[in-house]
Every structure is written in C-alpha cells, then in structure tokens.
C-alpha cells in the first residue's frame, strides 16, 4: 500500500512437494500484498492445506522431506524450521480445529504465554515463571484484539461455555493480538459458524485487511470468497489452475475450475444409455439420519432402482459416507429403509446381511479386512457366517466344520477373476498392497452373492491401474449378475464413468440426483449447494 508496493509481502515461487513420491504440489506460484485478501479454493486433497503448512513451517513438512521452491517474505527468502519461526515473522494461522484451553477465559486464551507480567520478589529468586500477570493490561490488549475484528465477544467468558462462533473469534483474536502479525491464514473459519456469525467474520476480515493485514482465506463457501476476497486462486491436484480477480469471476466458473478435469477420453458411452425409470425400486431410504462422526447424515431420502449403478458423491464431511454405514448398521442411525418392499431394521448389521445386502467399507484396514488372517478367511468369512457356505455338517448339523477345500476353491477363483496379486490364497491380507486389499474386500462381498452392494470409496488410496480394475469388476458384477450397486466416492469423475445416476450429498442431505452424463459443472454446483 505504500513504498513496498513493488515488493509483495509474500511470494511463493515454484513450490513443489511430494510425500514419498506422491506429488501433491507442483510448481505453485503465489504473491500476496499487504492488506490483500486472497481466497484459496479447491476440492479436498487439492493441496491447499499442504501449501499453507509449508508457509507456516509445520513440522510434518520437514519430517517428510521438505519442499521445493522458495518462500519470500518482504523480498527476503525464508525457511521456517518451526511454526514458532513463522509466528515470529508475522504469520498467523487459524486452524479448522480449535486449539483453545476450555477452562480458560477468552482473555487468558488470547494472550496465553504472551501475558504482560510484573516482576516480584519470588520471581527474582525462582525465575520468570513466578512473575505475576498484569490482569488489567491483559484485558486491555484482549479488548483491542477483539475490537479489531469488530465483533462483540465476552472477554471474561470461559471457552467451554461459548458458542462455536465465539471460539472461532477467540482464535482469530489471539492471532490479531500479536503485534507483528502481517499475514493471517484462515483455514475454513466459517465452516462451524452460523450465517450471522459468518457475516460478522467476513466483515471482520474486511476490517483487518483495511488495517494492512494480508489474509489467505480457505473455504468451500464460494459466495463468501467472492464477497470478501480481492483475488481467487483455484487449486486442483496440486496445481494452481486459475487465478482471477474476484470481480471478474463467478461461482460457476470457480466450480468448473475446481472439479473440471480432462473428461474427453474417459467418458465411456457404455451405460450412459441405460435408463432405469421403468425399473422397480429395490431400496428406498426415507428421512435417514446417521450419527457418524465427521460424516453426519441429516435427512436423506433416496430410491435405488433395481439393476442400476447409483453413485453418491459430495465433498468430504458432507455425509455421503454416512449413508452406507448407517444403512448397514455400523453407526447409530434412524429413519426408514425399505428393501424389496420389506422394512429393514437399522442398527443391526446382521439383519442387513440377511436381507442380502453387502457392504465394502471405505475403511479397508479397520472394517474391511482381517489383516492378520489369510485371504481365504477374508473372502470366505462373511459368507460362512451369514449363509452357512463353505461348511460341512456333522452329527446332524450340530457340528459345523470349516470346509477348507471349498474355501480354497472360492478364494482361488476370485484371485483369478480379480487378478489379485498374492503369493497364495494362504497369504496374510496385511501383506498385500492397497489395491489388492481392495480387491479382496470386493471378493468378500461378491462371495455373499448380494442383491444389493454398497461400495464405499472403492478407489481411495490405490493406484491408477488398480482403480480401473476395481471399477471394471464392479461394472461386470452389476452387468452379469444383475446386482444393484451403490458406489459412494469423492471422485466425481470415477462416478461419471461407472454409474447410471449420481446423487450428490451436501450438508447431510441429497442436494440432487442427476444422470451420470451430466456435466461436471452441474454436479459441482450441487456439491457446494448446501455445504455446511
């Protein structure tokens, strides 16, 4: 804003970062001037948080081998060895999760470990830790910091008694109370706020910017970005894909930049013509709520047609994972689920499995596999327990003996069919790679011969080749056995390729159901429509 006009406050040049060969940031360039507000948007995993961690000198960046490129503050190259250095240099960060002490008051939290102190006799003897606090000065400084935001927060209130919005303001006030603060990073600060509080925060951001503080604002709420930011930077797959002045862009344009990928060659014609309007409804979910931490489902009503592949997409944390987990009874759920005209009781995995549902969990290692047992066990176990397959009966069914030969046979068949790479059917599931573990999970579900198959995040954490195989296996299973499949995935492109219809979940509700041939923009807009 003054003589420093030509040297920007912050400049990031050619930043790149990989985690053990997995490139998450490539060639990022970013400049930020004093008093400027930039909005940083991108899908989950686009690299926003990693970029901010680099800027803030987070330990995990160094522990995983550092980063490439330069960070310049006021034209000087810096390399923070810890967040403390970054704070010293005038960078503040407000994280998504609160780091506040619940039993302390607002003032105490704002000035924690930076309290103005008064020397006394005991401190002379025992050192500075025995200094007494200057309460009145603390109060004043806290008041100033809160004043800067232009909101009203009770300075004497204990954090644990506060509404979330005020906790968020306290976090920001803490950063503001640091005199050297020049750059403030806000990581989804409005995610937990009510509309009114969010408005107040946006006003506060504008106020801070006028005082010369530069702000990086990360959020999924695009409208907010447009109303407060000067520039909008869109990241996708570790690249900056668009950088525009907020006045020159629109929500649609940003959405497209966020989710748009090279779609031309992956658009498979097959399946796109399938229509299930006439098909009967095999599964009907109405007013489902699921209490799954981080993936709360609020009110989902959804009909699944017999024989189709239905995709469920949405941003992380919006509740799409909660749907299959809730229906299968793994998390507390309520509402009404009807399968083939019969009511399915919730909260009882056994009853779902008996009604020939199967579920491939997104938590492969936690729920999906017996890591310490053989592939044979992994694949045959549910079918054995639920449908009494692979068992030999002795003494008139009194003794149900494991039929090792039958188990080996079915395992070998699936190893063959799904091209599972392993040394033998006796290998432990733990020793397989992620992609092959995922195939074992599918085989386990296939072995149940379900009428309806829920698959949750089938391609998470597996490489491209395995992804294609897994999706093909699902399609084949659907086409050849007439099994209805519901795929839940955060990867929109994958859903567009494999599914007949795509339901988008936003804010714990179904934001809309579109044919898979719909454009990325349409789906993307739905994804962001009810974000909370």
């Amino acid at each position: 804003m003054n003589n420093q006009q030509n040297t920007p406050l912050l400049e990031m040049r050619n930043i790149s970062k990989d985690f053990f060969g997995n490139q998450v940031l490539s060639d990022i360039n970013l400049t930020l001037n004093e008093g400027e507000v930039i909005g940083l948007v991108g899908e989950n995993g686009a690299g926003k948080s990693t970029l901010m961690r680099i800027l803030f000198g987070a330990n995990m960046i160094r522990e995983t081998g550092g980063y490439g490129g330069d960070v310049l503050l006021n034209g000087e190259k810096v390399n923070f060895s810890s967040p403390f250095d970054a704070i010293e240099a005038g960078i503040g960060m407000v994280h998504q999760e609160f780091s506040l002490i619940p039993g302390f008051t607002t003032t105490e939290n704002i000035l924690l470990n930076r309290e103005p102190v008064r020397k006394n006799l005991i401190a002379e003897i025992f050192g500075d830790r025995m200094n007494t606090l200057k309460r009145s000065e603390m109060d004043e400084r806290a008041a100033n910091a809160i004043e800067l935001m232009g909101v009203n927060v009770d300075r004497k209130m204990v954090i644990s008694d506060m509404p979330v919005g005020h906790k968020q303001f306290t976090e920001i006030a803490r950063e503001l109370s640091k005199e050297q603060l020049k750059l403030l990073i806000l990581d989804e600060p409005t995610a937990v706020l009510t509309e009114k509080e969010a408005e107040a925060l946006l006003a506060a951001i504008k106020g801070m910017a006028q005082r010369g503080i530069a702000i990086v604002f990360i959020t999924h709420r695009l409208q907010e970005i447009l109303s407060v930011c000067d520039r909008v930077i869109v990241m996708r797959d570790g690249y900056v894909v668009s950088e525009k002045n907020a006045s020159d862009t629109s929500v649609d344009e940003i959405t497209k930049a966020m989710v748009g990928r090279e779609v031309a060659k992956t658009d498979s014609a097959e399946g796109k013509n399938r229509s299930f309007d006439q098909a009967k409804t095999i599964l009907s979910i109405s007013h489902l709520w699921v209490d799954m931490p981080g993936e709360t489902v609020r009110d989902v009503s959804l009909d699944v047609k017999e024989g189709e592949i239905l995709g469920i997409g949405g941003l992380a944390g919006q509740g799409k994972l909660g749907i299959p987990n809730g229906v299968m009874g793994l998390y507390q759920a309520g509402g009404k689920v009807t399968f083939e005209g019969k009511d399915i009781p919730l909260n009882s995995p056994r009853r779902c499995l008996d009604s020939s549902f199967a579920f491939v969990s997104e938590d492969r290692r936690g729920v999906g596999l017996l890591l310490d047992e053989t592939l044979e066990w992994n694949i045959a176990f549910p079918a054995m327990q639920i449908q009494n397959k692979f068992l030999k009966n002795y003494l008139g069914g009194l003794v149900k003996w494991r039929d090792e030969a039958a188990i080996k046979e079915v395992t070998d068949r699936y190893i063959d069919e799904l091209a599972i790479k392993c040394t033998s059917s006796k290998q432990k599931a733990r020793e397989l790679s992620g992609g092959n573990q995922q195939k074992v999970c599918l085989a386990k579900a296939f072995a149940l011969n379900p009428r309806l198959l829920f698959v949750s995040e089938p391609t998470r954490g597996i490489d491209v080749g395995a992804k294609a195989l897994v999706l093909d296996a699902l399609k084949k299973f659907n086409r050849e056995n007439g099994v209805t499949v519901v795929i839940v995935s955060s990867e929109l492109e994958e859903l567009r390729q494999s599914c007949d219809r795509i339901a988008i979940v936003s804010g714990g509700k179904i934001a809309g159901i579109l044919p898979a041939a719909s454009s990325v923009e349409e789906l993307g807009a739905l994804m962001l429509s009810q974000v909370i």
């Binding site: 793994l330 995995p349 056994r350 596999l369 017996l370 066990w377 176990f381 327990q385 003996w401």
Partner: protein, 355 residues
C-alpha cells in the same frame, strides 16, 4: 550353484528361527543345557525328566484355558483364579457329598461346571463392558474373587471331617489331602514306569482329549467367528457377528477349562489347596502360553504344548541344578524370577508373531 546352496542353508536356519521363534529357540537351548548339567552336578536325570512330564500333565489344561479368550481378543486370562475357584467348589463339594475314588473326580467336574458357567457369564459380561482393558480388569477379578473365597471357605457349612479344621470342626483347611478320593486317578491310568522314569499316561491323554476338542472347536463355524472377533472385532461386526456373545462364550469356555484344569492339577499333586493358592495359578499359565509363542491375540494348541513343556521344564530344572551347584535352596526365588520375568518379556514383545 554354490550361491544357491549358501542361500538355501541360510533360509534353513532363518526358517527355523521364523517358525519356532528366537525366544523359544533360546529357552529350548537353555533347557537342554540344564538337562546336560543335571547329571554333572549330581541330580538324577530320569527323575528330573519324570518331574517335567508330570508337571506338564498337571498344568496343561490350565494353560489350554488361555486359548479361547486369546482367540476372541479378550487377551490373556489373568482372571483364571475365578475358574479355579469353580473347580475348587466342585472338588470340595464332591468330597463333602461323600463321593470317593474316580467317581469323586467325575462328580467334581460335574459340580464345578454350573459354577464355572455362572461365574464365567458374569465375568464375561464385565469384560464386555470394558473392552480394551480386559487384562487389567481380569487381574483384579482374579484377585478379588480369591479374597472373597478366603472368607467363604471359612463360612460355608462344610462338615466332612477330612476337610474341616480339626479343633473347631468348621471352616476348611488350607490343604486337603486327596487320598481315598481322586489322588492320581488319571495319572495311574495306563501309567508307564521304568525305574525312576514315569509317564502319567492317563493325565496326558485327558489333556490331549481336551486339546483336541479345542482344536476341533476352532475349526467350526463358531470357532472361526471367535478367531475373527479377536483378529478384528469391527470386521466381525460388519459380517453380522454378535461380538459380545462370542466374547462371552470364550470367557465361559476359559473359566470352565480353568475349573477342570485345577482338578487335573490336584489329582496329580494329591492335594486341594484353598485360600490364597488360586492366586498364584494364573501367572504360570500366562507365562507358559506366552513362552509357547502365543501373542496377546493369537494362540494355538502347539503354543500350549510347547509353552507348558518349556516353562515347566525351566521352573523344575533351574532350581534343581542351581541348588545342587551352590547347595542352597533357592527354588522359590528362581521360580518367581523365571515366571514373572517371562511374562514381562512376553508382554513387551506382544507384537511378535502374527500381530
């Protein structure tokens, strides 16, 4: 060619270490060393071997009792005294009701069974409430049940003159001789005796029978479910298994086996030991199965057999050899150091093996 053979030899030793486990290899070598030393320092070898086999036969079932709970993921059954108390109730009631000889052994098992079922169910219900802290709670269940029974042994209206204190005519004695009841009832069945060397065939057969039953159980549908529950409870739940019920079943099985185990122990030892005695039974059984190569959530019948032989071998041989060497009775001290040391070692290495 040459390179190949070198590789092969390496893998031979590597395989041995991998399959048998380095700790077991070391302990086996130590035991062999003791057996070689024994005659040198003047201990009679056949007697020593007879001792080891006898102690193996007494303790085998108690160690076997560890298996179900390990499989269901409840950890090592430090609450073994609870099952032992059921067995002791069976033993004393059988005597009280006047059964003698082999029949008293059968009746002791029959009478102990309902106690084991009831205690085991309560214990299992408790363990289902505190998933994750089973072993700690189990320890205290063991402790407190022993203390409670210390009072009960005095209060319960036992009358049999063979069991109550002579002067008062009430309250059970600390040690009750089994002569005339089921002393050596299993051991003497088909006993093999060559000079100083004896094999209690009946006891070993009885153990083998129970071990076989356990092995068979683990191959059934329910047994498979039990192993899966221990391996990954969430997986089991997602596969429609009632995890709590399977865990409860495992605890009841373990408790019942402990009850039978103590009766087998008594028939070999020749005495019923009451009051604080059950207190000291859990740790040796735990150490034995750990030495045998079991981990906190994986255990096989082989682990039980190997572990019991190695543990009992060490605790019988070490004191004998040491005493003969330095002419001082250190047996109890060495036994305590050996058994607790081994538990400590095994628990620190709980990731060893398959998990």
């Amino acid at each position: 060619m040459n390179e190949k053979t070198v590789k092969k030899e390496k893998s031979w030793f590597g395989r041995l270490v991998e399959n048998f486990g380095l700790p077991r290899l070391i302990i086996t070598l130590f035991l062999v060393l003791l057996l070689i030393l024994a005659p040198i320092v003047g201990a009679d070898l056949p007697t020593q071997i007879t001792n080891i086999i006898a102690r193996f036969s007494w303790n085998g079932v108690l160690v076997l009792a560890m298996v179900p709970m390990v499989h269901s993921g409840c950890g090592l059954n430090f609450g073994l005294p609870l099952g032992i108390i059921s067995g002791l109730l069976g033993a004393t009631l059988s005597i009280e009701f006047g059964f003698t000889g082999a029949l008293s052994f059968v009746m002791a098992i029959l009478i102990a069974t309902p106690f084991a079922l009831v205690f085991g169910s309560g214990y299992g219900w408790l363990l289902n409430k505190i998933k994750g802290g089973e072993m700690m709670i189990a320890t205290y269940v063991g402790f407190s049940s022993v203390s409670l029974m210390c009072m009960m042994w005095l209060i319960l209206p036992y009358k049999s003159p063979n069991m109550v204190w002579g002067m008062a005519g009430k309250g059970l004695r600390t040690t009750i001789s089994l002569e005339g009841y089921y002393d050596k009832v299993l051991a003497n069945f088909l006993k093999i005796k060559i000079g100083n060397f004896e094999i209690p065939t009946g006891t070993i057969l009885f153990f083998a029978l129970l071990a076989l039953a356990m092995w068979a159980f683990l191959h059934t549908k329910t047994g498979t479910a039990m192993t899966a529950v221990g391996s990954n409870p969430t997986f089991a739940r997602a596969a429609g298994i009632n995890v709590d019920r399977i865990r409860l079943l495992s605890v009841v099985m373990s408790t019942w086996l402990a009850a039978v185990g103590i009766l087998v122990y008594e028939q070999g030892f020749g005495f019923v030991q009451l009051y604080m005695a059950p207190f000291y039974m859990a740790l040796p059984a735990v150490s034995a199965i750990l030495i045998g190569g079991a981990s906190v959530n994986k255990a096989s019948i082989v682990n039980v057999v190997v572990g019991t032989i190695l543990f009992q071998g060490i605790v019988t041989m070490t004191p004998t050899v040491m005493n003969n060497m330095i002419h001082m009775d250190m047996s109890e001290i060495i036994r305590i150091i050996a058994s607790n040391g081994m538990i400590l070692y095994a628990l620190t290495r709980k990731t060893e093996g398959s998990k």
